[in-house]
């Protein structure tokens, strides 16, 4: 219906210069070209499609950002944790702490893969306890457990069960924390997150492709006259699909740019918010969980990649859809 209204508009447009001719003595040479594409842009342009593509891109970017954040934090923790185990020695009334520390480090150093054992000195221990007990702590006056940091060689896995048995037998009050359960849980959690994220991402891309296929079919049906004429004047499927593809590329770019921009702005705001609330206890909790809430540069980079990918996906999908349809139409034996 809009197709039928359009020409009359252009008709009045072309008619007006002629009517004004007496006023304007020198008439502009009229353009030979209408400035219209062979497949009119308005017949393909659809706000609904831009909207859907925008939402899909936004959600895809959020997924991507979340996965990338979890992944970065998990990798960082894992790296820190798996290269270190801790021996804790609780003080007794009659325990000679210096001896206990020496015994414990000797036991630990017997195991292969242990590269270094350092006892946290009073100052370091005090710093660790500062959030709970305040500054200016005198460790001598308090029954504070002492910590030994056992550093492992890269990739080494000493026999922690045996180490724990020996420590408990020979150094009373000592416990070994190898963080293994943590590491395993973290790995599982991170993998699960990546798995879920990727699935969600793929599903959203599939939904986008499906939407574009339907939109393309709609656009082709709406331009049946044009497609027919193009056939009869000898256009091949490449030419015809190209006419649609250029519109869909722009639609895809517009939608994807809106979506990705929205996601980027959201992450920037969250980043600013989390860093401003870093001093507060809640901020500490959040940053303990997520690292800091800020997305790495590569995270933003990947969002731009998603943007470009969605636009190209839209153009390619529409192009393939048109070609298929055209070849079906061209098929002589229907």
């Amino acid at each position: 219906m809009t197709d039928k209204e359009k020409p009359s508009k252009s008709a009045t447009k072309t008619a007006t210069p002629a009517a004004k001719a007496p006023v304007k003595p020198k008439r502009q040479p009229k353009p030979l070209r209408s400035g219209q594409s062979i497949v009119p842009r308005e017949s393909v342009a659809s706000t609904a499609l831009i909207f859907v593509i925008g939402i899909m891109t936004f959600l895809a970017c959020l997924t991507l950002g979340a996965v990338s954040m979890v992944n970065t934090s998990a990798a960082k923790w894992q790296n820190d944790i798996s290269r270190e185990v801790t021996i804790q020695i609780r003080p007794f009334d009659d325990l000679e702490m210096t001896k206990a520390i020496r015994d414990a480090s000797n036991i630990a150093l017997q195991f292969s893969g242990v590269s270094k054992v350092t006892a946290l000195n009073d100052a370091e221990t005090a710093r660790l306890l500062e959030p709970w007990l305040g500054a200016g702590l005198q460790l001598d006056e308090l029954p504070v457990p002492r910590l030994l940091r056992v550093t492992l060689a890269d990739g080494a896995k000493p026999d922690f069960v045996k180490m724990r048995e020996q420590l408990e037998a020979q150094v009373p009050g000592s416990t070994l924390d190898d963080h293994r359960t943590w590491v395993d849980r973290l790995t599982t959690m991170a993998l699960t997150m990546v798995g879920i994220g990727s699935t969600v991402f793929l599903l959203m891309m599939a939904a986008t492709v499906t939407t574009v296929i339907f939109a393309t079919r709609g656009a082709m049906a709406g331009n049946k006259d044009v497609v027919d004429v193009l056939h009869f004047v000898g256009a091949d499927s490449k030419f015809i699909s190209g006419q649609f593809q250029k519109h869909f590329l722009i639609l895809g770019l517009k939608g994807a740019a809106c979506g990705a921009l929205g996601a980027i702005i959201l992450f920037v705001i969250l980043g600013i918010w989390s860093s401003s609330s870093l001093a507060t206890p809640e901020g500490d909790q959040i940053s303990a969980l997520f690292g800091t809430f800020s997305l790495s540069w590569s995270g933003y980079f990947w969002m731009i990649i998603v943007l470009i990918m969605v636009a190209i996906l839209t153009a390619v999908t529409s192009s393939i859809t048109v070609r298929r349809q055209v070849n079906n139409l061209q098929n002589y034996r229907k």
């Binding site: 197709d3 359009k6 020409p7 009359s8 252009s10 008709a11 072309t14 008619a15 009229k30 353009p31 030979l32 070209r33 209408s34 219209q36 062979i38 009119p40 006259d225 044009v226 027919d228 004429v229 193009l230 056939h231 009869f232 004047v233 000898g234 256009a235 091949d236 499927s237 030419f239 055209v326 070849n327 079906n328 061209q330 098929n331 002589y332 034996r333 229907k334």
Partner: protein
């Protein structure tokens, strides 16, 4: 002029063998047609309204497939032509539709240039050719307007110009003088004759007897689905 030989060695552009056509489960519109269109020939296709002239042209244009029989175009059996070969064949056939089928959102100039544009030609290479042809069909001062503003006869001439612009091997014209007055009809006929002299085979579907009387040519007459040929 290229030659398209069939197995008997006769040069043919289009050949029909015992072709029958029905739309859906309706009655046979065309039955048992056998005829040929030779290179560099001129023929009128005539018959009363509803006799099946447009249907026959659509069969030649490969936009319809026959219910029975064989249609051969440029020596190829139509049902064996793959979709990707179709554009190559269509580029050798110029067609003027009874309802013109001009694109309303493009200017007359762009409509006539369309066949060249889809062949990937550059605008600066063909601009003058298109202008010349439009001048020749008397649309020199109408080329910047859009088809809805054109009169019936002007649309007709624009459609003819679009069919001729790439000098096809065969021209199929469906009622090309249906919307014009007798003097203009004569001019259009002369145009087709000139085209025929330059080597194109012309098939004109018309029920305008006075038009056919002006030029002595082969006549294919359709009547209740049957074809009679007067050479």
């Amino acid at each position: 002029m290229r030659k398209f030989l069939d197995e008997t060695g006769i040069a043919l552009l289009i050949s029909f063998e015992n072709v029958g056509l029905r739309y859906g489960i309706g009655p046979e519109v065309l039955s048992d047609l056998s005829f040929q269109v030779a290179p560099n020939s001129f023929q009128f296709l005539t018959g009363p309204s509803g006799a099946g002239k447009t249907s026959l042209l659509r069969l030649m244009l490969l936009s319809l497939s026959p219910t029975r029989g064989l249609v051969k175009v440029f020596g190829k059996e139509a049902s064996t032509i793959r979709p990707e070969q179709m554009p190559i064949i269509r580029r050798k056939i110029g067609v003027v539709f009874q309802d013109f089928r001009l694109l309303d959102h493009l200017t007359t100039y762009e409509n006539v240039a369309l066949p060249l544009q889809v062949r990937g030609k550059m605008e600066q290479d063909y601009r003058q050719d298109v202008r010349d042809l439009l001048d020749w069909v008397g649309l020199g001062d109408r080329m910047h307007v859009h088809p809805p503003v054109l009169s019936g006869g002007e649309k007709q001439r624009a459609a003819i110009a679009r069919a001729l612009i790439d000098q096809p091997d065969v021209l199929l014209a469906d009622e090309p003088t249906g919307n014009v007055d007798p003097p203009l009809a004569r001019r259009i006929l002369r145009l087709f004759i000139e085209l025929h002299r330059s080597g194109t085979s012309v098939v004109i579907a018309t029920h305008d007897l006075s038009l056919m009387d002006q030029y002595d040519a082969r006549r294919l007459v359709l009547n209740s689905g049957r074809l009679q040929i007067y050479d």
